[in-house]
């Protein structure tokens, strides 16, 4: 039973990780906690439903469409709501992000109604027995898609020019700009990638739990944000680790009889980690300049 719970936890954690990556990349470059990120994940899931029901598409096309749509949305939001605020106080874009989040959530409630929408079955689910654990086809798909996306992200960040520019900008924004990096472009790209990953997370969660609702972004966003901080905000491997860690911890917590305190588990872990490693598990120490 324990290994089964751990597997459940890893699947959940993989979706947290996909969302957490968006938080962490954006924070790494512009130090903004993008509170609208959870809503992008929600919209992604709805685009997935739309593709499957209205356009009768399969999983891969729906996934791709959701990612593309959210890429455009993420970049647009950054242009309109965050870019004009880049040089102002730290809290201004944060409030702007909350405004965007309220807007998107109510817009979706208006369009699709407040009722949760069932995610139509796109794959014939089956259960496979592997030793002591049972793994479903959906779980396998989630794990494979999440791993592929994370591997692709890793490749982009390490080996592609724009990815290197991203790292440079997150290391030192102004120096990167002085070195001729088009920082605006890099930021747009970061938002595009982060939003696409969140959309993928949304579609996968929709398939896994069969339901999509306008309010799904709030808790998932908060949890993923926790995961990002746990792993060390600004660090990409940290977000992956944090997501998995949180997913497993939460599932084991429920199994261990702390189900009443499920939502508190993530935050208790968070505070403990912050107190002992103030910059998260894989974060680098803050350098204080005098």
């Amino acid at each position: 039973m324990l290994s089964q719970q751990i597997l459940n936890g890893i699947t959940l954690g993989a979706t947290y990780a996909l969302i957490a990556l968006g938080y962490t990349m954006v924070y790494g470059i512009i130090q903004l906690i993008n509170f609208a990120h959870g809503e992008i994940y929600m919209v992604g899931a709805f685009v997935g439903v739309l593709m499957v029901t209205v356009f009768q598409q399969g999983l891969l096309v729906s996934l791709g469409a959701a990612m593309l749509a959210c890429m455009i949305m993420g970049v647009t939001i950054e242009r309109i709501a965050y870019r004009p605020l880049r040089r102002s106080t730290r809290l201004a874009p944060l409030i702007s992000a909350i405004g965007v989040s309220i807007f998107l959530q109510t817009l979706m409630t208006k369009i699709k109604g407040p009722q949760p929408v069932a995610f139509p079955p796109v794959i014939n689910d089956a259960l496979y027995k592997m030793g002591p654990v049972e793994i479903s086809k959906v779980q396998i798909i989630i794990l494979i898609v999440a791993s592929l996306l994370m591997a692709a992200l890793h490749f982009i960040v390490k080996h592609v020019k724009i990815g290197k520019a991203m790292r440079a900008a997150s290391e030192d924004y102004d120096t990167a700009a002085l070195m001729g990096i088009n920082v605006n472009q890099v930021i747009s790209f970061t938002f595009a990638i982060g939003s696409a990953l969140a959309a993928a997370g949304g579609v996968l969660v929709g398939i896994y739990f069969n339901s999509v609702s306008p309010f799904m972004g709030v808790t998932a966003g908060l949890k993923a944000f926790c995961a990002a901080v746990l792993g060390g905000i600004g660090s990409i491997p940290g977000a992956m680790l944090g997501g998995l860690f949180l997913g497993v911890a939460e599932t084991l917590g429920i199994a261990g009889g702390f189900d009443l305190y499920k939502d508190a588990i993530a935050f208790t872990l968070l505070i403990i980690v912050l107190l002992f490693r103030p910059t998260g598990l894989l974060g680098r120490p803050i350098q204080r300049k005098v």
Binding site: L91, A92, I102, K110, V229, I233, F267, I271
Partner: protein, 299 residues
């Protein structure tokens, strides 16, 4: 005095204005922590709920007089503020914010599972003792105290911490004690605000004190202008009354509310009255002569 109010105002306006007053007290508390001292707090609603539940339980179970129950709620919130502040205030910037966010969610879940708070069933039947007069009295008292505090030695050391922690320390400000004191006062006000809220709404439910409420308070003070008392008053008024004024657009109300938040930030990123101080509003010439940077935000 309440009879005088009810001559001019109908009950709906009294209700909305009382609520505004209550929010104002909480917002002024957060302003001291985030606006004046520069310590980011995403968990203000938790302290509201601690004050609300403490005072509500005291009035319901022990029938303690209203004023005392409110005070006890404030003290309890302040106590938890110190308990949380002591370990976490050494965290800087966003990390402090995240830790307080976590604390807020933990408090909510704990209240959801305690038997004395009624859990998810909520706590009902609290007497409606928070009249407009009582709230107005507390608001005036709070504003007066905040103005006095802003211009005291303590207030100036808070601003010093916000502007540059290391320089402040070098100038002899005891960073830890001062930060915790600010946190204690701010959370005390949140507790008072929560207590009054409980005695206005007459019903408490943990789900009403989630992180969304904390962000509401943050929005009040950022939109008004961080660190500016008139700014906080304006920001809180605009944002508390906006959902009520926007009722005429019915179903699109919250959408417009969200858009307004974005727009106001873009037009005035420092808040409506960013950097404006009450004393300077009345002595306007001084603004041009002195003009220390009263902004800075929560860097």
């Amino acid at each position: 005095m309440d009879s005088i109010f009810s001559m001019f105002l109908n009950d709906y306006y009294i209700q909305v204005l009382t609520m505004l007053g209550i929010y104002l007290i909480g917002a002024l508390g957060l302003n001291l922590i985030t606006g004046v001292t520069g310590q980011l707090s995403f968990g203000h609603a938790a302290f509201l709920s601690i004050g609300a539940y403490t005072s509500a339980i005291l009035s319901l179970k022990l029938h303690i007089p209203f004023a005392l129950a409110i005070l006890a709620g404030g003290l309890m919130a302040g106590l938890w503020g110190v308990l949380l502040g002591y370990p976490t205030l050494r965290l800087t910037g966003d990390y402090l914010g995240i830790a307080t966010l976590g604390f807020g969610e933990i408090v909510r879940v704990v209240f959801l599972n305690m038997s004395i708070t009624g859990g998810a069933l909520g706590l009902a039947g609290i007497p409606r003792s928070a009249t407009l007069t009582a709230v107005l009295f507390v608001v005036i008292l709070t504003v007066w105290a905040m103005v006095r505090l802003e211009n005291s030695r303590f207030g100036r050391s808070l601003v010093a911490i916000r502007e540059d922690e290391i320089a402040a320390e070098a100038m002899g400000v005891n960073i830890t004690t001062t930060k915790i004191a600010a946190f204690a006062i701010g959370t005390f006000l949140a507790g008072i605000s929560g207590g009054l809220y409980a005695h206005l709404i007459q019903y408490l439910n943990p789900s009403d004190f989630g992180f969304i409420k904390s962000f509401e308070f943050l929005t009040f003070i950022v939109l008004g202008g961080l660190g500016s008392i008139p700014g906080v008053i304006l920001g809180t008024s605009v944002l508390t009354l906006a959902p009520e004024f926007l009722r005429f657009i019915a179903d699109y109300r919250m959408m417009v509310y969200g858009l307004l938040m974005v727009l106001m930030m873009i037009v005035r990123p420092r808040g409506l009255l960013g950097g404006v101080q009450l004393s300077r509003l009345f002595a306007k010439k001084k603004v041009q002569q002195t003009g220390t940077s009263a902004c800075g935000g929560a860097n």
